[in-house]
């Protein structure tokens, strides 16, 4: 794969809306004038077990449709985190929903209680996938926020566009706060070192 290729994997348990999340992400990439291929694990597991959606975004042509060396990984359940994190790049971005992922296999993860925060803010976890897209957008900038918002409006059920867009913005905010805390912790550590 060429350098301009980004492989993204969204993993969680069936019902969390990650396949829809994958489709939205892929559509946003097209709006950003990029090439994209999206695939998913499909079947009974999509309704309860570990499920995953994969998105490959590139400037040029994409051949093999499955992710083989993942740049961006989002895990929203412990099982999915354990099962699908084996081929993440060393410098890849690792986002976890700490509501459900209690054991994170790396010390450099973007760790945010996405589902719990969504429940607290919106009263239910239904929008966790869109909040997660907000987090992902803010953490890696692989697709533009503008394109993602347009794709969300197109793909979510009619009448729910507004609240979904709120969820997306909320996710972006969560990511910024996490980044800030992380940077502060870093500078504290640096300060302690010196």
């Amino acid at each position: 794969m060429s350098q301009t290729t980004t492989e993204i994997r969204l993993a969680g348990s069936g019902g969390q809306g990650l396949i829809t999340g994958g489709i939205i992400l892929a559509e946003a990439a097209i709006l950003d004038h990029k090439n994209v291929v999206q695939s998913q694990s499909y079947g009974p597991e999509a309704r309860g077990g570990a499920s995953r959606a994969e998105i490959i975004i590139a400037e040029g042509p994409i051949f093999f449709p499955k992710a083989t060396w993942v740049d961006i990984f989002l895990a929203m359940s412990q099982k999915a985190c354990d099962q699908y994190s084996f081929d993440i790049k060393n410098d890849g971005i690792f986002i976890v929903d700490t509501t459900y992922v209690k054991q994170i296999p790396t010390s450099s993860a973007v760790a945010i209680p996405i589902s719990a925060a969504t429940r607290e803010k919106f009263g239910k976890e239904l929008f966790s996938n869109i909040v997660a897209l907000g987090v992902l957008c803010e953490a890696c900038k692989v697709v533009s926020g503008k394109a993602l918002k347009a794709a969300i409006s197109h793909r979510v059920p009619k009448g729910t566009e507004k609240i979904n867009l709120e969820a997306f913005t909320f996710g972006q905010k969560l990511a910024r706060e996490a980044q800030k805390n992380h940077n502060e912790a870093d500078s504290e550590a640096i300060a302690a070192d010196t």
């Binding site: 489709i23 892929a26 097209i30 291929v37 051949f63 449709p65």
Partner: protein, 380 residues
């Protein structure tokens, strides 16, 4: 959705449904089965708006029977299914071959045999598509290797079915059916539509199975004033059952002759980096995607490897291989089965090049790196 860009995110099965509509399909009968159900769902929504008809039958036997009936009524008819349903369709598929009824069957292959692996990719139905129904019969089988091709090949399948009065099978693997990709669909005015030839002659002249110069007889729709007989028995030019050895021979041979005449037009083959190739990967369906990726890596390390992409599987495009045999040392055939097209390659190769197969039947894909490793091993 985005008026500015002509690109859309489309799933393989969605592309098939779009292709069917673009080709003028106005009748669909089917039965739900993973992983092809999206085609039925989309056409159930879209056909009535275009004045077309959709019916969900009680099983796949009924589904193919209904599209044969609709095709006899003058519709362009299509069904979509997967392995177990395709097995059930076999008897009536033979009927459509013998009675020369245009129709398209989309078979999204899943792991088999039996219920197998319903949501995993496979290419296990290649031989079934060729020989699944009993008796000698010609068949046309196309296999798309991208979402965009799923659209174009569906149109091609409908056109070939109409032109040759023959069933056409669109053989997709689950990877192509369920992946989503950025595609650009042509405007309706750019899509070629072929309609079957109807008789213009007075009804008393009409012999429903008398072949014209093209090898194909004009087909009247029921209700158009040409009252004639259609049967699954071997028949004469009038369509009546016969036991005369000469008439039986003419019937069966005629089926083959029409497809042989169209052989070059029916065969869709693409060649990538074959000019100087000493080694070739022959692939179809999702294996083309792995092969392309492998090719890029192999060429970077100066291996003279090319790709022969089979879009048509049956009739087998033997010329695609034959023209390159003098320059090829090795040929690798990766397949998600135990080696089905591999046997055809062996047959055509007749001992000239070294033929190797790479097979997988565990529900996962053969990856580009595995292909690279195998080709490098072969070259050494």
């Amino acid at each position: 959705m985005n008026k500015k860009s002509s690109y859309r995110l489309l799933q393989g099965n969605e592309a098939v449904a779009e292709g069917a509509l673009a080709a003028g399909i106005n009748f669909f009968a089917g039965y739900p089965i993973t992983p092809s159900t999206e085609v039925a769902e989309i056409l159930a929504d879209r056909l009535p708006a275009d004045g077309g008809k959709f019916i969900q039958m009680e099983d796949e036997i009924g589904s193919i029977a209904a599209i044969i009936g609709a095709s006899i009524g003058g519709c362009k008819a299509l069904t979509a299914t997967s392995g177990p349903g395709f097995s059930l369709m076999q008897e009536n598929l033979g009927f459509a071959c013998l009675a020369e009824i245009p129709l398209v069957i989309v078979n999204v292959m899943r792991g088999g045999p039996s219920t197998g692996m319903p949501t995993s990719p496979s290419q296990g139905d290649v031989m079934q598509a060729r020989w699944g129904t009993h008796g000698d019969h010609p068949i046309i089988v196309l296999s798309p290797s991208s979402v965009e091709e799923a659209f174009h090949y569906t149109i091609k399948a409908v056109n070939l079915a109409e032109k040759y009065r023959n069933p056409v099978i669109l053989l997709m693997d689950e990877v192509i059916a369920h992946m989503r990709a950025r595609v650009s669909l042509p405007p309706e005015s750019m899509v070629e539509r072929i309609n079957r030839v109807h008789p213009n002659m007075p009804p008393e002249w009409y012999l429903p199975y008398e072949r014209s110069a093209t090898g194909v007889a004009p087909m009247a729709s029921f209700g158009d004033g040409y009252r004639y007989h259609i049967t699954g028995l071997v028949h004469d030019a009038k369509g009546y059952p016969t036991a005369s050895p000469n008439e039986c021979r003419d019937n069966i041979r005629g089926l083959f002759t029409k497809i042989e005449r169209g052989f070059r037009e029916i065969c869709l083959v693409d060649y990538e980096q074959m000019e100087d190739a000493e080694h070739a990967i022959v692939a179809y369906g999702s294996m083309v995607l792995s092969a392309r990726s492998a090719l890029e890596q192999l060429r970077e390390s100066n291996c003279k490897v090319g790709l022969i992409k089979l879009g048509t599987l049956w009739p087998f495009p033997r010329f695609a291989l034959e023209q390159y045999l003098p320059q090829l040392k090795t040929i690798l055939i990766p397949e998600l089965n135990m080696g089905q097209i591999y046997r055809e390659i062996l047959r055509v190769n007749a001992g000239k090049a070294v033929i190797e197969k790479l097979n997988r039947v565990n529900g996962t894909l053969i990856t580009p790196s595995e292909l690279v490793k195998t080709v490098k091993g072969l070259i050494r």
